[in-house]
């Protein structure tokens, strides 16, 4: 039976934002359909509507030509639509089977029958190659396995359309390959897969057709076989993007930041940083590449002593700052721009002016009192110099857009006078214009002789900005390379756990090996 799902002229508005502007999407049975767009293009919103999480303002959704009404996820589930969100919807202390049957009432009885459910789950997982233990506690499972639980939840409900929102963001290369194998199997069964992503190479690898969204509209739909990454990029961004920056020559100065043999554990006693040694020199950007969750955040936090260091040392200009307080780090010239700009890097309830002096409150004083005038002047300078656009410095920082908020935080840390900047995922979620601004600022600091440790999951960003790129995998530095077009492959390999020696061998090997499907 051929089933087609159509979303027609979907309009959805949030306060201040038109997220979906008459968007269209058509999915056939037995296909893997990719939904491509930048952050903010409207893909997530469209999917939330399809899953019943949000109500559309106008438009219609049809299955085989008949209108359907989706008031809540319950309706979507009943119609065979299932979704795996970017942030997994799992109850961490529950077991796999408890998570699977949550919300389901199979028999009429109010009693839970975990045994029967486990059996059904086991047979499903065996059939689809998604091995796992039904009674394991979800929070003890690695991310890749947690994703399997999410997919099994959908299959348990016999979902015919599976929506996957950025599924590979947290996976290693092997896990991604396994996932794709599973998806191909599901496609062969006649199910449809809707893959929401911004990763072009993966679309080319797995999808049958792709719909591109931009600014809330559906721009075009193409069969993957008839299009190219370049064309898709152009449709996604609206212009030919040349991700090439003008970088001044690399002037290596003295090492400003030295980390030696750092070992860091997390709250649960797991070793997250296993003996990392690196150094960053004045006038250099050292990039740290790696899939999120391989210890990068822990490394950054440990360097700032936001997290305890089990062993190893952190030297700033030769002085040991390993166990000094965060405030002392600031005073010594180290600044940290964390990945979460809304919940960690700023206090969104406070004004822009108050955020501009966060951490600097003891500097702008007159005697024992705060000097309101000096603080506001500093804020005004910051806003001017870094181009922070918003309603005004007395308005809540939460009202700023992502890009402007990032510029505010960046400006604040730079104006602190720090000689060493640790920057984590600075352009996540930003539109192209904001990305360019942030890059420009970072390069300017580099020009002025600052040492910058740039942690990023976007290879593009590292290739453009960094002078050297270190790759972290499971808490270790796998290798350090210089950013050339060829090294992108080596970096990819190292990100998946291949040690540097073999990875650089991979550098020399040509595309022949790829054609033979050699897995690494």
């Amino acid at each position: 039976m051929k089933r087609t799902l159509e979303m027609k002229n979907i309009v959805k508005r949030f306060p201040g934002v038109l997220a979906n502007d008459r968007a269209n999407l058509t999915i056939q049975a037995g296909e893997i359909h990719a939904l491509l767009g930048e952050n903010g293009a409207g893909k997530s919103t469209l999917m939330q509507i399809l899953y019943g999480f949000h109500r559309m303002d106008s438009g219609e959704i049809l299955i085989d030509g008949a209108r359907i009404h989706l008031a809540s996820p319950r309706d979507a589930i009943a119609l065979g639509i299932g979704m795996v969100h970017q942030e997994f919807m799992l109850v961490r202390p529950f077991s796999v089977v408890e998570n699977t049957i949550l919300g389901l009432r199979e028999s009429g009885s109010p009693r839970l029958d975990l045994r029967k459910a486990s059996q059904k789950l086991k047979s499903l997982s065996d059939r689809h190659g998604l091995a796992l233990d039904p009674h394991a506690e979800v929070q003890s499972l690695p991310i890749g396995v947690q994703q399997r639980v999410e997919i099994l939840k959908l299959l348990y409900r016999d979902a015919r359309l599976l929506i996957l929102d950025e599924p590979t963001a947290v996976l290693t290369k092997q896990e991604k390959d396994q996932l794709f194998a599973v998806l191909r199997g599901l496609r062969a069964e006649g199910r449809s897969i809707l893959l929401v992503t911004h990763k072009l190479n993966e679309i080319m690898e797995i999808a049958d057709r792709v719909t591109v969204m931009r600014d809330g509209k559906s721009v075009a739909t193409r069969a993957v076989a008839t299009t190219s990454e370049r064309e898709l990029t152009r449709m996604m961004v609206g212009r030919d993007v040349n991700f090439r920056t003008e970088k001044s020559p690399w002037r290596r100065g003295e090492p400003l930041l030295q980390v030696s043999d750092l070992r860091v554990f997390d709250n649960k006693g797991r070793e997250k940083v296993r003996g990392v040694t690196l150094e960053v020199r004045a006038g250099e950007i050292l990039g740290i590449a790696g899939v999120d969750g391989n210890g990068q955040s822990h490394l950054a936090e440990a360097i700032m002593h936001l997290r305890d260091v089990k062993s190893g040392r952190v030297l700033l200009n030769g002085a040991d700052v390993t166990n000094l307080s965060v405030a002392r780090h600031h005073a010594a010239g180290l600044a940290y721009i964390p990945a979460d700009r809304r919940h960690v890097g700023s206090v969104t309830e406070m004004s822009v002016a108050d955020n501009a002096i966060l951490g600097l409150q003891r500097k702008h004083t007159r005697g024992i009192f705060r000097s309101g005038g000096a603080a506001r002047a500093a804020a005004a300078t910051l806003v001017e110099r870094f181009g922070v656009r918003g309603s005004g410095i007395d308005h809540a920082a939460g009202k700023l857009s992502g890009g402007n908020l990032q510029k505010l935080i960046l400006g604040r840390e730079i104006m602190r006078g720090a000689k060493v900047l640790i920057v984590e995922q600075p352009t996540r979620g930003l539109d192209v214009g904001a990305v360019e601004s942030v890059w420009r600022e970072l390069l300017r600091e580099r020009q002025e002789g600052k040492a910058i440790l740039l942690i990023s999951a976007e290879l593009e960003e590292l290739l453009n900005l960094a002078d050297r790129i270190a790759v972290m995998f499971e808490g270790r530095i796998m290798g350090v390379v210089e950013p050339t077009a060829a090294s992108a492959e080596a970096i990819g390999a190292m990100m998946a756990g291949v040690p540097a020696a073999s990875a650089s061998r991979h550098l020399e090997i040509s595309a022949e090996e790829e054609a033979h499907g050699e897995a690494l």
């Binding site: 508005r13 949030f14 306060p15 201040g16 934002v17 038109l18 997220a19 502007d21 952050n39 903010g40 409207g42 997530s44 919103t45 600014d215 936001l306 307080s325 965060v326 405030a327 780090h329 600031h330 940290y336 964390p338 809304r342 919940h343 960690v344 890097g345 700023s346 206090v347 969104t348 309830e349 406070m350 108050d354 966060l358 951490g359 409150q361 003891r362 004083t365 024992i368 009192f369 705060r370 809540a396 939460g398 009202k399 700023l400 857009s401 992502g402 890009g403 402007n404 979620g429 539109d431 214009g433 904001a434």
Partner: protein, 381 residues
Amino acid sequence: MARLFERRLTPADSPLAVAGTTALALIVAMVLTSFLFISYGANPLEAYFALFHEPFATMRGFGYALVRASPLALIALGTIVSWRSGLAYLGFEGCFVLGAAAAAWLALLTEPGATFGPLPPALFLTLAIVVSFIAGGVWAGIVGVVRARLGGSEVLISLMANYVAIFVLQYLVSGPLRAPGSQPETRQLPRATWLPFILPGTRAHAGILLAIAAAVLVWVLLKKMPLGYELIVTGFNQLAARYAGINVARRLVLAAFFAGGLGALAGTVEVLGSQHRLMDGISGGVGFVGIIVALLARLNPVAVIPTAVLYGGMSVGADAMQRRASIPSSITFILESLAVLLVLISDVLRYYRVNPSALWSRGAEAAAEEAPRGTVGGASE
């Protein structure tokens, strides 16, 4: 198409909006309580008149209003310092009691022939303030430490610590500090330890001056000092505070210390200014009414004094009302709590924008105007 009530992204937070919704809540509370008056066969207008006349139109009543207001204001200030730092401290009954006990104990030590003997009033008062502030500060500080280091719930621990403190008080006034006789209370404290009266012909004492001074100090702390900034940041977002280099654990303990100290001062002021002896039941729930005063003052130190005087006045008026109209004074509990609950409900109203134009316009053009071009913030992040 604009709707009549349109949900905003963030609540309207202009002072006008806040004051407006608070006033609205108070009015509705008074209307609702009127029904209660009617059920007693009383005329609501007469009842409200009795409620407000005594404390605000007579000198004597006003004096009593100030007396009741002083401890309320101090407790409200303590609430503001702790809650705005993110510590939901509720142990003011306990701090009040401890502060009263410390001051009374010190006062008894200045009786002729006792350890200290009579002291100059200024010296005694300073000593009493310092000692009781520290006593309350340490009592509350312990809760702060437990919260900061062990993660225990300060809400429940401080609530239960109140009972412990009250039992300690009961022990003291039935045992070591008890005056001869069967009442659980101490002797009257020496005249030299009493707070001076400030309004001739009334019982108003210097406690209100202490409260005003404290309000000014708290305002200066929160608005004008780097420490206050750090407390407020900690109250908004502990994680961001840590990342900014603020020592969150220390700030929480400090906030608890200040809150406890202020709560203890409330007890000191009550015992040295009004009661002149320590007895069982001296707190009478003031620890919680003080929190309510803080809530109605919207956690703003400037609004505390007028709000406290209003409340103090109402409790005086309620007694008068009970005498004259036989309406139980506990009606004020109902009025107060309804007011706060309505304020909480009205806060939700600030999340909505009223579009009167929607009542007569059917046009759909408003829709297109709201969409920004290009970059998008908010929803998709």
